[in-house]
Symmetry: C2
Subunit: 142 residues, 2 copies
């Protein structure tokens, strides 16, 4: 029961972008250095986030990436879902899976539990914004 390194690294990259939000585009080379993630892997992760519409890139010298919305408007849930797909501790309660997925469905005792697990994860991720995560950092670092 682990989130992939995609989600871990991707979230860290998004936090880095949130921290530099007012300072114009941030290059992956910089994030790669500060977060110690290989550049080529980071490129793949950011590509996913770009396709999800969370960041936009500007090419060429002095290019880089920027959030498409302010850190207060982007939740950890959006980032994690973009990188990992729908939250689904088990398939039968995956976000976006219609009822009738399995015949055990009706009256399956464990299904309700997994649904609660999914909801509690979703609640934490969806009520935390990138801004929240940045301020945590500044508190600790200062």
């Amino acid at each position: 029961m682990k989130f992939s390194s995609r989600a871990r690294y991707g979230l860290r990259a998004m936090i880095a972008l949130a921290q530099g939000y007012h300072r114009g585009p941030l290059s992956l080379a910089e994030i790669s250095r500060s977060e110690d993630i290989s550049l080529s892997y980071l490129e793949q992760l950011i590509a996913i986030l770009r396709r999800a519409g969370l960041v936009e890139g500007t090419r060429g010298a002095h290019g880089g990436y920027q959030l498409t919305a302010g850190p207060v408007s982007i939740t950890a849930g959006q980032v994690v879902r973009a990188l990992e797909g729908p939250l689904a501790p088990v398939e039968c309660v995956s976000e976006g899976v219609e009822a009738g997925y399995c015949r055990r469905q009706t009256g399956c005792p464990s299904k309700a539990l997994w649904g609660q697990v999914r909801d509690s994860i979703a609640h934490v991720l969806d009520t935390t914004t990138l801004a929240d995560l940045c301020s945590t950092n500044e508190l600790e670092v200062s």
Copy 2:
């Protein structure tokens, strides 16, 4: 971000055992039929649960497995941890990992978030007993 089929199947098997708690040992062949899990795979899963002290087996004809405690005293958290290991959405916040695991540790903004995710999962699993899961079922089925 998924629980393995070990956890899914194992929990279902434990619920089946809880439902037959008063009726003496339940054989894996029966669970295999009712839950539609292959016998040999089920044997492996139950072996894990036995080593964790959650069930005990009695060999020979009319043998089978029984919970070592009543369904009210066994939580889903115990079952899932036995099958999956410590709850750890990411390694650095794994249950039982001491501080200082990674140098980013102090002031890592994402670490706090993953810790909250872990705690919310743990809360759901640890406050749900096998008895709770059985009663859910009976309500639905009746």
